[in-house]
Amino acid sequence: MKLKHSNSNQRKQPSGEHLLDVRNLSVSFDLIEGTIPAIFRLDLVLDQGEILGVVGESGCGKSVMAKSIMRIIPQPPGRINSGEIFFESRELLGLRESEMRDIRGKEISMIFQEPTNSLNPAFTIGDQIAEVFRFHHRLSKGQAWSKAVEELHRVEIPDAEKRMRSYPHQLSGGMRQRAMIAMALACQPKMLIADEPTTALDVTIQAQILELISQLKRNIGMAVILITHNLGVVAAMAHRVMIMYAGRVLEEGPVENIFYHNHHPYTRGLLQSVPRLDQAHRELREIKGIVPQLNDLPGGCAFSNRCDLVMDICHKREPELKPIGPRHFSRCWLEYEPQRNG
Amino acid sequence: MLVKRFIRNKLGVLGLGIVLFIFLVSLMAGLFATHDPLEISISNRIQPPSRIYFFGTDQFGRDVYTRVLFGSRISLKVGIFSVAIGAVIGIILGSISGYFRGWIDYGILLIMDTIISFPSILLAIGLMAVMGTGMGNIIITLALICVPRFGRVVRGSVLSIREKEYVEAARASGSGHIKIILTHVLPNAMAPVIVVATIYVANSILIEAALSFLGLGVAPPAPSWGNILSDGRNFITQAPWLTIFPGIAISLMVMGFNTLGDGLRDLLDPKLKQ
């Protein structure tokens, strides 16, 4: 069978332009049940001021990717098998832990789905935010405290001075998330990784938090990797979108392309299977089958056993990520010209 | 599947091995014995271990080896019956208490906490002093000590299980309380019970030995490891074999049951993690 484009590397230029440039990242976990390949040869670029939405279902690897960039994957049982992560031309995987610590919280920050995981229940939020200033900027206790109050104001927590002395459990979910954002943005990082930041929040609070993130992003001028399974969040916030499945990127491109000119059957399937408030009468089309276990993937393309456009070759070989438009890529045999059933 | 995983846990297998070994020994004590455990032979008193008397003889010329062999029966009987009775009563009380809450819970907890607040050995001594010696009384006493321990463990499990949605689903399916307790709650609460049981068998054996040692246990001349130890107390320097061998036997049995319990606990834990 003949392939028209076999060079999947043509999208990679030497870095220097991109804020973040992840190349060929592969991560796996060694568990009792066996070795689980969590991410398979992932490439990702992020430019200054950009919001990249990373969408996927459970097991797709989006959280593992985020934690790999931050280098907070416990190794063992995790293992980074290959790849390079360039942040402003510095290669992160090769840094010493002490150097990485200088970057975390200052240049690259992360916020999580459950604020209870990153907010220490034994300390007041004031203490925790102030600590960021003391550690990264070497401020005194008093200076750090006032800076922290400023931060709470910035994330629009009412009664900021009083709230400084609150413990996390005394705050509502939305407030905790704001506190976590305050902590993450205290040092005005160049990049924010937000891992399902609003999934655990009510819809009206979600709207507030997303609005806050947008605003702060504009003020600081930072780039954001926004990880979510919610296509609405991505539509509202992202410039570019990356669709992940079983540890791979299946489609990636500008947000309009992903929503209106998508190529990959999985992307299409996802969009068709989500009920839309403004189209209540539209029929919901399902994707058949179940989300696969990472150690039990079908041969060939990871999506082959659920795809309704599947062809013979899809079961045999896994396609490469192929450019199909300006900054738009898809990992699908349908992108390869004629002679598909070779 | 479960068996395979159990085998991987070497400690548990070791424990199981020891326990089975002791079971065998006690069943076939008659076969392995070399003498009559009660036979007195004054001319042969306080003999060190030899080819005739493997573990030596005590102050009455009785063969220590044979007595230790037969002693295993008493220890096992006491350990297992007391735990079995204590477990049954404890499970019933604990599940009623945890499932129905309210006044019943307070009442049962009060009783259980009262019993637990006494150090087991003191409680045992006190009860035996009142009731008198004899194996039946020992079993009752030790069962009583076990009841609140099982009760609390079961109550703890039941408290969390009753909040599970499958219990609610069973109610929505029309099942009554008793049916729910028997078919849903108890099977899911059993895991820690088995582990606790093995540990308390070991514990009961120790207390029995202590009681016999103090003369409150099994009446002489019946051989219990405790009273063999007790008999040998006065001759520790002259005839250490009188205390060493029953001591080893007790330690072996306790260790066996404890490691078996550990193995079972590890076996059940990763399953829950799944």
Binding site: E256, D278 | G174, N188
Partner: protein, 337 residues
């Protein structure tokens, strides 16, 4: 005029937290604070709201899985709230429940067969073993699973499959009403669509009445008609599907609708978003009068003092708001057969 299958009248559920042992001290949580609505045969009634609005407690209280503190529930004319244990058991055959978490709603130690057999053996004591097996197989197929799955255990199945099993369990007694509490929330996006479509199909096949409780407005809008919106334990609006989205009456409904994100970039970039200020208040210490007044852009003085009743503004559209309900003479909406 069709008969109402389910009538809920002034349902209340209060929780007392803080050890109110001998002296009833501690705080009261008004989880369900006077909820009334009716469901007809074959209707899919949506109950939507954010966390803490009381929808989950309301669902459970209707079936008396938790006991209501006050109020009445009628099923086919028969009163559920005052039923004896025996009567309640018979009612349970016809009113079923599907739970949110497929990972904890199935007993991990029971095979699927035993789990599905349980409701059958409770209500149909005369069935032979062969007949039970046949029924279990039949319902497994109806929810899209293989009959020989009945010999397996819950941990062998994915979330979506477990939820199907939960549906089979609810259906196997041939109920007339099923209350579904967030049945899709714990599922992956691509699986949600499967279970949503399955529920829709089953509802049509069996002409079931459903009460669908969810925080996901898009899903509720897709499946339900009419839809009730809850806030702080009270219903603030009931509306047919057609008008809820186009013309919401209650300001909270408006805010909720504008906060829901649509998977469409052009729509989203242009949208006016009525951002609500502040947090969803806790159920301890509900604001006086209308619970929504601290966050409401339309609030007037009266809103702080008076609790608005649910008023029928046009046929089928009810709202509990002093401002929006003012155009019609106030009459409490009562549902009786």
């Amino acid at each position: 005029m069709e008969q109402n299958l389910l009538v809920v009248q002034d349902l209340e559920k209060y929780f007392y937290i803080g050890r109110s042992f001998l002296f009833a001290k501690g705080h009261i949580i008004h989880a369900v604070d006077g909820v009334s609505f009716a469901v007809k045969k074959g209707q899919v009634f949506g109950l939507v709201g954010e966390s803490g609005c009381g929808k989950t407690s309301a669902g459970r209280a209707i079936l008396r899985l938790i006991e209501p503190t006050a109020g009445q529930v009628f099923f086919n004319g028969q009163e559920v709230t005052s039923a004896t244990t025996k009567e309640l058991k018979l009612l349970r055959r016809r009113m079923q429940f599907v739970f949110q978490d497929p990972y904890s709603s199935l007993d991990p130690r029971m095979s699927i067969y035993r789990t599905l057999r349980e409701p059958l053996s409770n209500f149909f004591t005369h069935l032979s073993r062969r007949k039970i097996r046949d029924l279990v197989a039949e319902y497994l197929v109806r929810v899209g699973l293989e009959p020989d799955y009945m010999n397996r255990y819950p941990h062998e199945f994915s979330g979506g499959q477990r939820q199907r099993i939960a549906l089979a369990r609810a259906l196997i007694t041939e109920p007339e009403l099923i209350i579904c509490d967030e049945p899709f929330s714990a599922l992956d996006v691509s699986i949600q669509a499967q279970v949503i479509n399955l529920l829709k199909k089953l509802q049509r096949d069996f002409n079931l009445s459903l009460v669908l409780i969810s925080h996901d407005l898009a899903v509720v809008e897709y499946l339900c008609d009419p839809i009730a919106v809850m806030y702080l334990g009270r219903i603030v609006e009931i509306s047919p599907k057609a008008t809820l989205y186009e013309k919401p009456l209650h300001p909270y409904t408006e805010a909720l609708l504008s906060a829901v994100l649509v998977p469409d970039p052009y729509v989203e970039k242009d949208r006016y978003r009525a951002l609500l200020s502040g947090d969803v208040p806790s159920l301890v210490g509900i604001p006086s009068g209308c619970g929504f007044h601290p966050r409401c852009p339309l609030a007037i003085n009266a809103c702080r003092k008076q609790r608005p009743q649910l008023v029928e503004v046009t046929p089928g559209r009810l709202v509990a708001c002093i401002v929006r309900g003012a155009s019609v003479e106030k009459q409490s909406a009562k549902y009786k057969d």
